[in-house]
Symmetry: C2
Subunit: 215 residues, 2 copies
DNA sequence: CAATCAACGCACTAACTAGTTACTTTATAT
DNA sequence: ATATAAAGTAACTAGTTAGTGCGTTGATTG
């Protein structure tokens, strides 16, 4: 946090900054190539650090991956908490949540790839994480409260499971983006063209609204 | 196809059978570990073949992966074609399609992992494939025709894009299963318990019906 | 039955990769 | 200033890994 010399000799010793550069480089490399495909040497180079530093601050490649993954989850959960859905009527709040999810995945494609990689490894790194549960619970109850409020307002159907809804909102946005390469070939259309993205978002909002709203 | 000796000495020379064993072993290994994580030696061993044979029949690890991927797509597309949705009224046909998709992913988890791995590699192997397009077109028109028929029957909404619907049906089923490990931790429930699977299928059918059907 | 060709397998290599050893450089506390 | 601990680096190691060279074995055909 403290600026250690803005003067003559530029890059000096700074443990915190080095760790941050390593984390950033690791996130990029893990996202691009998965845990198995990522190269520690590449991370070191990209971080403008030495490979030894990675093993100094993080004990192994896997530990580094775990840290990156935790940070990725912590980032999305904290962004969700800033949504302030309770300031809006239930319908608008739900739409806002869908729009947010879409935009978040679009702006942070590493999140998707990291999660895919973690699932390939049967979530063995996430299992070790403590803070995941606290963050997740808050997220689920946020949606749960929104659903309850919508029912009270008389606009949402009753009896919808917040977890199923969460999964579905994630699914329709996530799947489209994670499978954008094979999808573009299979459906012979560029799924990442601006109009295509617009169209998908509209479709997804419609899907969720029809699922949740009365009539 | 011809049974070369069912008599005394069991496993003799059989090019076709060896190739099939290699393909099967490769599918398993690629699905379990992705293209990068898969080991050619493991494939050879699992196939009860020699590594040399892999390079004899398939020119490289990547070519083998491409063949496995093509076969996986060809398998699901051909299973879809056997559905005979036109024998049912539109609503039942749509439900049948959702049920089929769910069950197919559940019974063939390798398909999901292979597709994930291919997307990590930006679909570079699928790009080279010729027959993908023919199969995909037939699939899209199958759903397109179903939608048209439902509109004529007066049960489906008009103007739904078959591609968007296809993607959504795949998404809500695929996402739940591919992210079952992280999902089970994040939501603190075993997403693969029989009741959970049942519940998810019901929810997914509801989602699609509400999206497509009138009122 | 001899010759030919395809199926098969051992043992190697060249390149790579996670992790380490042993060292130098810099900030800081006395 | 200077001792000390932390930050940083280069070069190495031990183990893997995709891919091959070359020889053997068995089926087929004239």
């Amino acid at each position: 946090m403290e600026d250690t010399k803005t003067s003559p000799k530029p890059r000096v010793r700074d443990a915190e900054a080095t760790q941050k550069r390593i984390m950033a480089a690791a996130k990029k490399e893990f996202a691009r190539n998965g845990l198995g495909g990522a190269r520690v040497d590449v991370i070191a180079e990209q971080a403008k650090a030495n490979k030894r530093m990675i093993y100094h601050y993080f004990e192994s490649k896997e530990t580094l991956f775990q840290r990156v993954l935790e940070e990725a989850y912590s980032d999305i959960r904290s962004a969700e908490q800033k949504l302030q859905l309770d300031h809006l009527d239930a319908r608008s709040a739900l739409e806002k949540l869908v729009r947010f999810t879409w935009k978040y995945y679009l702006d942070n494609p590493e999140f998707i790839t990291l999660v895919n990689s973690e699932n390939l490894h049967k979530a063995k790194h996430l299992k070790k994480s403590e803070l995941i549960h606290t963050m997740s619970r808050r997220f689920v109850s946020m949606v749960g409260e929104l659903l309850e409020r919508g029912v009270k307002e008389g606009v949402f159907r009753d009896g919808i499971d917040p977890v199923q809804l969460n999964i579905t909102i994630a699914a329709i946005n996530y799947y489209y983006l994670t499978n954008r390469f094979t999808g573009s070939i299979v459906f012979e259309r560029n799924l990442m063209a601006p109009e295509a993205l617009e169209e998908r978002l509209t479709f997804n909002i419609e899907t969720i609204m029809r699922l949740v709203c009365k009539d």
